[in-house]
């Protein structure tokens, strides 16, 4: 696992490095620290990372512009900031967690645990997922998404007739979404509010029909859970 820390105060960066090492132990393959965003962004464009711990002044538009760019990436972002009052706003953009300064080991461990548990849902409601579209960052409202399909290391977000490619894997996206998104198949994540009915066919073949007519397969092992959820 490769963790990147962006924090401009050396002693606070030292604290983050020390605690991340302690929490992840052997799971940590590489830990990188930058004290400024310019260098960090250059590094991100040339390297693959799994988790970004970002110190961000979220005052003004610049902070949120950066946040949109970062959350569109394949890795998860945890914000570490002095501005706790901006936390809720930051969550709307799909950050994995928001840690207010000053912080302790337990709080950081809790945030990293959320990264590791692929099936956990966000405690907070993200309202948007940011996606890169021809070099631009676009925000997609989560409430508009019908379903998400896995596409290699990426995932495809379907809203009505449109689809967009997100850099995060379907597992990572699950972490950010609210509880009404259910994994019905290895490759499909569905907004349960859009389900019309559950279809049972011969030979224990199950599928779901969405309100817009789309039919998606349901994994055999997941059927009982889905049936229960749909009541």
């Amino acid at each position: 696992m490769h963790v990147l820390i962006v924090e401009d105060e050396p002693i606070i960066a030292q604290r983050l490095q020390r605690q991340v090492k302690q929490i992840l132990g052997d799971q940590l393959d590489r830990l990188t620290w930058y004290d400024n965003l310019d260098d960090a962004e250059l590094f991100i464009s040339e390297n693959v990372i799994d988790l970004l711990l970002l110190d961000l002044n979220l005052h003004g538009e610049n902070g949120f512009e950066l946040l949109k760019r970062m959350t569109a990436e394949s890795f998860h972002t945890i914000i570490i900031s002095a501005y706790f009052d901006k936390a809720i706003h930051a969550f709307e953009y799909g950050v994995l967690d928001f840690i207010a300064k000053p912080f302790n080991l337990e709080r950081l461990a809790q945030a990293i645990a959320r990264y590791q548990h692929t099936n956990s849902h966000s405690h907070y409601t993200a309202r948007y997922l940011s996606v890169k579209k021809s070099g631009q960052i676009e925000l997609i409202a989560i409430a508009d998404i019908d379903y998400i399909s896995a596409s290699g290391h990426y995932s495809e977000l379907y809203c009505g007739n449109n689809s967009s490619l997100h850099d995060k894997s379907i597992e990572k996206i699950t972490n950010l979404l609210p509880k009404n998104f259910e994994r019905i198949h290895r490759s499909y994540l569905v907004n349960m509010n859009r389900v019309k009915r559950l279809i049972v066919e011969a030979g224990s073949k199950y599928s779901i029909e969405l309100r817009n007519g789309t039919i998606l397969p349901v994994g055999r092992t997941r059927y009982a859970n889905i049936k229960q959820k749909l009541g």
Binding site: R15, D38, H59, N62, F84, P102, N104
Partner: protein
């Protein structure tokens, strides 16, 4: 503004009153003879020449005889008489009026009203010469006075009757306004702000209201003439109090607070001195008023010299009041006591109340902005970016280097203590400001694991500056820059005089802070741009008004913050 309006109103009033006399026949000369049978005295029997009215003597039983010529008239006429004596009035030998009971000594005489109007019967009003005999007794005047007869004239009944109302309307209105203003100021004093100013102006309102009442009591209500001296004493005392309070208000207004008691003593002494110098009561009031106007004019002119635009209309108002007052001929000066006095008083008082209101507004504004600046400064240290990062740093140091944590907490506490102490002050010594900056650099050195230095080339100059102004410049350098680990700040303070012969006048002080500057590609840290600059401007404005200049600019590798001010 109000001072300006009242100035023009004053000029207007002076012009209209000067040209508006009522038609009347004035008796200015009388024959004074000692006769117990005044009714029978004929002009033919008198061989002494007539005398001026003011030559009539007191403590006597006597007879005044005057001669007048009437033109043909159809109007009803009346004799207005205003003198210090009991009297019987005969018109061509016929009794037309009695005021009081005459006697040959103090015990047998019962004083009559000082002022009365006697209607002259129609059958006596033929065209030609008439003779008026007035049998008088005046044993009840309590001290020697220079003038006993104030009015002796014949005019149509209507204006004679209306005279009292016409003369008293403005004073009555003014009286009401003044009493109200005085009470209002008392309410303000006791429920809002305990300022000496309010008491002084309130005193002025009450005393000048009572002065007006005393001045016009004769025309308004009348009294028996034996009370006249008492009234004159009241007028004198009230004039002294009014003039004292007018002068003292200006003393306070020109910020001579420290010498208030001294001024009060001197002014009171001078007024009392004036009041005993001249025997004539009218002259006493006149000189006191003139001296007060002169004093206020001089105060305003002095203030005008040091702060021109502010005191312009005040200086004009008092100068013109003074010169109009002084240069007007004596006749007008006496008329003045009757008529203009109230107007001039009203104008001065309204200008004083206007000044007071302006002052209150200014103080309120200043207090507000001072309070805001104080909060501004303290709030910056509760700013989450500073506070939370410092706390995070502290937790890390507690876990790894507890001794350093203690030092760090101590330096934060020390800076905060000083900021709290300085924030309420208008200016502090440059030494204290430098110490504050060094404390801040110590904290920043901990935070960025660096060694920031402030290098001061100051010499022996002792300067006062608003608190945390350079401190704010250093803070800005951190929030807009990524400084190197050994960044140095250079502070230069110079002071020079524009006029070498007067080394302490027109001093120009220049305080320059030179800091490392790296042009930021990213404008990410824009969060506090402007708030620091605003603080610096507000503080400099508060202390130096418009006599300062503040520059902030990049000069190659350096960022320059420069404060220039003159005093």
């Amino acid at each position: 503004m109000i001072i300006r309006v009242s100035f023009w109103l004053f000029i207007g009033y002076c012009l209209t009153t000067t040209f508006g006399f009522a038609q009347q026949i004035k008796i200015t000369q009388v024959h004074q003879i000692a006769s117990s049978n005044c009714q029978q005295v004929s002009l033919d029997d008198i061989h002494t020449p007539p005398v001026q009215l003011k030559a009539v003597s007191q403590n006597q039983r006597g007879c005044l005889v005057a001669k007048i010529n009437l033109k043909k008239t159809t109007a009803q006429l009346a004799l207005t008489i205003n003198m210090l004596a009991s009297r019987k009035i005969y018109w061509n030998g016929e009794l037309i009026g009695v005021d009081g009971i005459l006697g040959n000594d103090k015990t047998s005489e019962i004083p009559g009203p000082i002022r009365n109007i006697h209607i002259i019967p129609a059958h006596l009003l033929h065209e030609g010469e008439h003779q008026i005999n007035i049998d008088i007794a005046n044993f009840h005047i309590k001290e020697p006075l220079s003038n006993l007869i104030y009015a002796l004239h014949i005019q149509p009944i209507k204006p004679a009757m209306n005279y009292a109302l016409k003369q008293s309307l403005l004073p009555i209105i003014t009286f009401g306004i003044l009493i109200f203003a005085g009470l209002f100021l008392q309410v303000i004093f006791f429920s809002f702000e305990k300022q000496l100013n309010f008491q002084v102006v309130s005193l002025m309102c009450f005393s000048s209201a009572l002065l007006l009442l005393a001045e016009h009591y004769r025309t308004l209500f009348g009294y028996t003439y034996d009370w006249h001296v008492f009234r004159l004493h009241c007028v004198l005392a009230l004039t002294i109090i009014t003039m004292l309070s007018i002068a003292l208000f200006h003393v306070l207004n020109m910020s001579y607070h420290g010498k208030f008691k001294l001024f009060a003593a001197y002014i009171l002494l001078s007024l009392i001195l004036i009041s005993v110098l001249d025997e004539r009561y009218d002259a006493k009031s006149f000189i006191m008023f003139a001296c007060t106007l002169l004093f206020c004019m001089l105060l305003h002119l002095l203030a005008y010299r040091s702060n021109p635009p502010h005191r312009f209309w005040g200086a004009i108002l008092y100068s013109s009041c003074f010169f109009i007052f002084i240069l007007s001929p004596t006749g007008i000066a006496y008329l003045f006591i009757e008529q203009w006095f109230v107007v001039l008083q009203l104008i001065i008082i309204s200008s004083i109340i206007a000044t007071l209101i302006q002052q209150m507004q200014k103080q309120k504004k200043q207090a507000l902005s001072s309070a805001r600046l104080e909060i501004d400064l303290l709030k910056r240290n509760l700013h989450p970016h500073f506070l939370m990062n410092s706390l995070t740093l502290t937790t890390e140091l507690i876990e790894t280097e507890p001794e350093k944590a203690v030092q760090f907490v101590e330096s934060i506490a020390s800076e905060l203590r000083h900021l709290v102490e300085y924030s309420s002050k208008k200016t502090i010594d440059i030494k204290d400001e430098i110490k504050l900056c060094q404390q801040h650099l110590t904290i920043m050195s901990y935070r960025y694991d660096a060694n920031y230095q402030l290098i001061v080339s100051q010499g022996e100059i002792e300067v006062k500056i608003p608190p945390a102004v350079i401190h704010t410049q250093i803070e800005n350098a951190f929030s807009h820059n990524r400084l190197s680990k050994n960044a140095q700040f250079h502070l230069t303070i110079t002071q020079e005089s524009e006029d070498k012969s007067q080394p302490n006048k027109n001093l120009l002080t220049i305080i320059t802070l030179k800091s490392e500057f790296h042009h930021q590609k990213r404008k990410n840290n824009k969060l506090s741009t402007g708030t620091g600059e605003k603080y610096i401007h507000a503080r400099l404005q508060e202390s130096f008004a418009n006599n300062y200049q503040y520059l902030s600019y990049a000069d190659g590798e350096y960022w320059i913050n420069q404060i220039k001010y003159w005093n």
